[in-house]
């Protein structure tokens, strides 16, 4: 990880590289509560950007604004330089931004294949699909199986198994595989290891690095400092509804990061070089 980042351009804004996803002056209020207070956000191609912050700092709202689950009251979001304004998660997905929510957003009683294609089902060609709107199950199952084994996830016996019969790590794996299969621009992972045991967390972290190696940038929201410091290229510290600073894990200790996000210490600069 560290050797890789050392070769990158030594510039706070990573000059020479255009950010793929940009947020500027994002504001979101819930009644009197200001969840996002003129928040800025930058994600660069191919990186893992961790977003950390105390509870109630507005991390989730920021992520929801990017993934279309929440519409910001003010501010702009740009994807590859184009201004975007998602009205719902489906529009964000169509633009290539996939989110793995902490709750995983899967229907427990439905199968792995059904869940992977929920909301973007494939229909059979010809009369059956066009007029009788029949789903193309063989094609969906084949695709689901391919994507899962591509990520080295499993030797699946039954892709039609209900998701509720899977363990926590397996479900997380399916959710990440779904995001990786369809997310062409950005993948957002919300607390992917929060509910998992040590071994399962380890496997999910490897999965995240696998996905990164395909060149897709990842936003990782996590409370787990060892995990964040292990996989992140840069760390966005969120405090009181806005970006406090962006640090590089190799220049700081975990206690620094915790001190920044709790307000115990103030960072020297908002950006820093590698």
């Amino acid at each position: 990880m560290q050797t890789q980042t050392q070769h990158q351009v030594q510039d706070p804004t990573m000059a020479g590289q255009q950010p793929i996803l940009v947020g500027r002056g994002l504001v979101k209020r819930y009644g009197k509560v200001v969840a996002l207070d003129h928040c800025d956000f930058d994600l660069y191609p191919g990186e893992i950007l961790a977003v950390i912050g105390d509870n109630g700092a507005g991390k989730s709202t920021l992520i929801k604004a990017i993934s279309g689950a929440v519409i910001p009251d003010e501010g702009d979001i740009f994807l590859e330089g184009q201004r975007i304004a998602f009205r719902n998660p489906t529009e964000a997905r169509d633009a290539g931004i996939e989110t793995v929510y902490q709750t995983l957003a899967m229907s427990p009683a439905l199968s792995i294949a059904d869940n992977m294609f929920m909301g973007r089902e494939l229909r059979k060609p010809g009369f059956m699909g066009q007029w009788l709107r029949q789903l193309d199950r063989p094609r969906m199952e084949k695709f689901a199986r391919e994507k899962l084994s591509e990520l080295g996830l499993m030797t699946i016996q039954n892709i039609n198994q209900a998701v509720e019969t899977l363990s926590g790590g397996q479900r997380q794996g399916v959710a990440v595989a779904r995001a990786a299969a369809f997310g062409s621009k950005v993948i957002i992972l919300d607390e992917p290891t929060a509910a998992l045991g040590v071994k399962e967390s380890r496997r999910v972290l490897e999965l995240i690095l696998d996905v990164k190696s395909r060149g897709i940038p990842i936003i990782l929201i996590s409370h787990n400092m060892p995990h964040v410091f292990e996989v992140a290229d840069r760390i966005h510290v969120h405090r009181l509804g806005k970006r406090l600073c962006v640090i590089r894990p190799q220049n700081h200790t975990m206690s620094d990061a915790v001190a920044y996000m709790t307000g115990a210490r103030v960072p020297d600069t908002e950006f820093e070089s590698a």
């Binding site: 689950a69 998660p89 489906t90 997905r93 989110t99 929510y101 709750t103 995983l104 957003a105 899967m106 229907s107 427990p108 009683a109 439905l110 059904d114 869940n115 929920m118 909301g119 973007r120 089902e121 229909r123 009788l132 709107r133 029949q134 789903l135 199950r137 899962l148 080295g152 996830l153 499993m154 030797t155 699946i156 016996q157 039954n158 198994q161 209900a162 509720e164 019969t165 899977l166 363990s167 790590g169 397996q170 997380q172 794996g173 399916v174 040590v198 071994k199 399962e200 380890r202 496997r203 999910v204 490897e206 999965l207 400092m225 060892p226 200790t253 975990m254 206690s255």
Partner: protein
Amino acid sequence: MSGTDNFEAVVKERRTEAVAEFHEDKTLIKRFQHALHVSPALVPLLVLLVSIVLFAGLVGSRFFSAATLTLILQQVQLVGIVAAAQTLVILTAGIDLSVGAIAVLSSVVMGQFAFRYGLPVPLAILCGLGVGTILGYLNGWLVAVMKLPPFIVTLGTWQIILASNFLYSKNETIRAQDIEANAPLLQFFANTFKIGADESGRGGATFTFGVIFMLLLIAVLAYALRSTAWGRHVYAVGDDPDAAQLSGVNVKRTLISVYALSGLICAFAGWALIGRIGSVSPTSGAELNIQSITAVVIGGISLFGGRGSIWGALFGALIVGVFSLGLRLLGVDPQWTFFFIGVLIIVAVAVDQWIRKVAA
């Protein structure tokens, strides 16, 4: 912090175990539980077959004949149609208490539009179907957009629709003879055809159009629920609406479509109701609510939504039909029918809870 790292280093080295290993449970009970999880209509089908064999043994050939068995189909046709509508709503974790009221009001609209206003009968029927759909849509709108609990919404619309039904019809019944003479299309579902009857037209299997419609309707809905995106969305919404929304399902539209379709099916049930009783009566169909919910629950469809097969609802309706007719032929007190149906309901819900444990 380093302590945590060392702790994790143990697992970091080894990558022998995959995160997701799928292994099947091998014991017979577990397999049975799993089979039920995959095909939840299996239990009601078994219960149905067992109860048919049971009554065939107790009552004899008087019960186990094509005529009697198809008579059961005729007796459950209305409940079967309404239970199909109820199934859709219950799959979304809702409940529709207004099904009976929508059916009756639709039948009254069909009759009154034809007789009071002299509309052509096909047009009057279309109006009745339209009224049913609009009422269902209203339920759906209140549930999906106003976010009111389905139980409360349909408890309210049940009373409103039933009262409107009596106010509008002035509690008048349109007599069967008048309908037969002037608007036979209203009794369309009463048409029958026989298979294997003797020369005098007795015995053999008798199918009314209403029975055929019920079977076709359930087959079409079973296809739609299983093999179309809409059907998958209905299950997903019933399972976990938030998850469905986040995975890109339009929850509001799905819910409204379910309630509107339920209203349309109930209107068809109203049409079939005219065929069944011959006349258009604003006081008919009052028991369809409870009967349809009973059929759905006995059919193994989870009241918590997202689980069950619509075939289960048909089997549930048939089980009730088999018990009612079988016990009547045995000559026992009809209260025993309700007694056993009560037992079946509780058993069905217990089985549903057990099937859910597959998740654990």
